[in-house]
Symmetry: C2
Subunit: 140 residues, 2 copies
């Protein structure tokens, strides 16, 4: 009995809630039930299809503690029935004295029937841009 | 004087042609001219906005030899005016005796006016999935 999500943003919230709670049932609900679903973890491993993706999260959840996880939207694009969000995730242990990880993720959402669901999640460990390559501030 | 691209697939071909040829003008033509454009290189560095993205490719092209580069589509999704392609890139030196790199890339295309252009490129070095996590073949 799926609640469904009325926007890509709502589906994204549900995805990160399931991630934070190590909730595999919540994870199952948010993914598109399709062999086209794909997930690339920061390790660079690709999983295709809902079953394979859920197995990868389940394996991770079995050895993980609930992470302290925040995310913020960097960029979004929306077409009819398809949405792409670029987010930065801050993942760390509950102890704020320890340094966490910064991850960039491209999240792709598909409108399937009445509900938005996650079709693709592509995550990569973020690295900062060398100062020499940062765009110079404009002088006007 | 931009030719434009009549499909996401055509824009993707142009992107990889420019990459192969170390052709910064071709690169400029294929990207959306917007501060919303984004590019994450396999290093994990994020560049936002067409200018910053082109600078990152230009820096790379100045020290690179033309790569032997092939790509194939793993997955695609299309909404009105927005398309997402997941591809695997095989990047290597011309010498086939040397091992190249496998990269997964999520390419996001936007229809801007009459032309499809590249809005986002998110690349990550691929790693193979451990055999123990591969889905078992079905027996029926």
């Amino acid at each position: 009995l799926s609640r469904g999500y009325d926007s890509a943003t709502a589906a994204e919230e549900a995805f990160y809630r399931a991630f934070r709670e190590l909730d595999i049932a919540g994870m199952r609900e948010v993914w598109v039930d399709s062999s086209n679903a794909y997930c690339i973890h920061p390790s660079g491993q690709l999983y295709r299809g809902q079953q394979s993706i859920l197995a990868s999260w389940s394996n991770m959840f079995q050895v993980a503690e609930k992470p302290h996880l925040q995310y913020s939207l960097i960029n979004q694009s929306q077409g009819a029935g398809l949405a792409v969000h670029l987010v930065v995730e801050r993942i760390g242990p509950a102890d704020p004295a320890q340094t966490g990880a910064l991850v960039y993720a491209t999240n792709v959402f598909l409108l399937t029937g009445p509900s938005w669901r996650l079709l693709g999640h592509h995550a990569v460990q973020a690295r900062s841009v060398p100062a020499s390559q940062k765009p110079k501030p404009k002088l006007h």
